[in-house]
Symmetry: C2
Subunit: 129 residues, 2 copies
């Protein structure tokens, strides 16, 4: 039980105190997602979502994994933060917007990334159809 400064806890709570970031956390409960998948559910500019993800990672809540040109974010709270997230889930589960997001995410996860991102020339789906 080490002695801690107050700032990290304050920063964590400040990070949690934003609707988009709470919604992102709720999404990632069902497994990792790449930025464009998260973005298509949250509906903010890609750069804004990226900034929120960076902040969530800095707060020690997420881990990132690069796969080609995509970056996948995963819920991975560092030691000592699991209890705070655990108490948050039941509250998030009661929120209408979160329920809708999770439902949308189920579809997004099944959609090929090329289709999701609206490529001009789909990569592997029928060429010159």
């Amino acid at each position: 039980m080490a002695i801690q400064p107050i700032e990290p806890l304050v920063d964590l709570l400040k990070t949690l105190g934003h609707p988009a970031r709470l919604r992102i956390l709720a999404l990632l409960r069902d497994g990792e997602m790449c930025v464009c998948q998260i973005n298509s559910v949250i509906g903010l500019a890609a750069s804004t979502v990226s900034e929120h993800l960076t902040e969530l990672r800095r707060a020690g809540l997420l881990a990132e994994r690069k796969d080609g040109r995509w970056v996948y974010y995963e819920l991975k709270p560092k030691a000592g933060l699991q209890d705070l997230l655990a108490v948050l889930w039941p509250h998030l589960d009661q929120i209408q917007r979160v329920k809708e997001d999770i439902k949308a995410a189920r579809i997004v996860r099944k959609t090929p990334l090329g289709v999701l991102c609206g490529w001009k020339k789909p990569q592997r789906l029928s060429i010159g159809g």
Copy 2:
């Protein structure tokens, strides 16, 4: 299990994401305090402390009780917030600043309010001593 909007939860977390407000919550764990007592521990302007207390009350964490010219604030989370506070206490207990505050509060609680507030003419302690 009612359906909720996201804003109240966001507001609560935003309220918690401030060092002075966390410190105030930690102080009130040991029982109610009036504004001038809290202020003498926290060390911000009285008006600033009053504003923080108002915000904590709006978030549903505190109750107030007027006694003469003093206003006492008490920890009284409304239904559904106890679990969030409960998970917070162990984290606050590890914070150096919070430990110091609690120690200072023990002295403050024993000090007569007139002495604490530095009255020119003490009210009931020896008259014209």
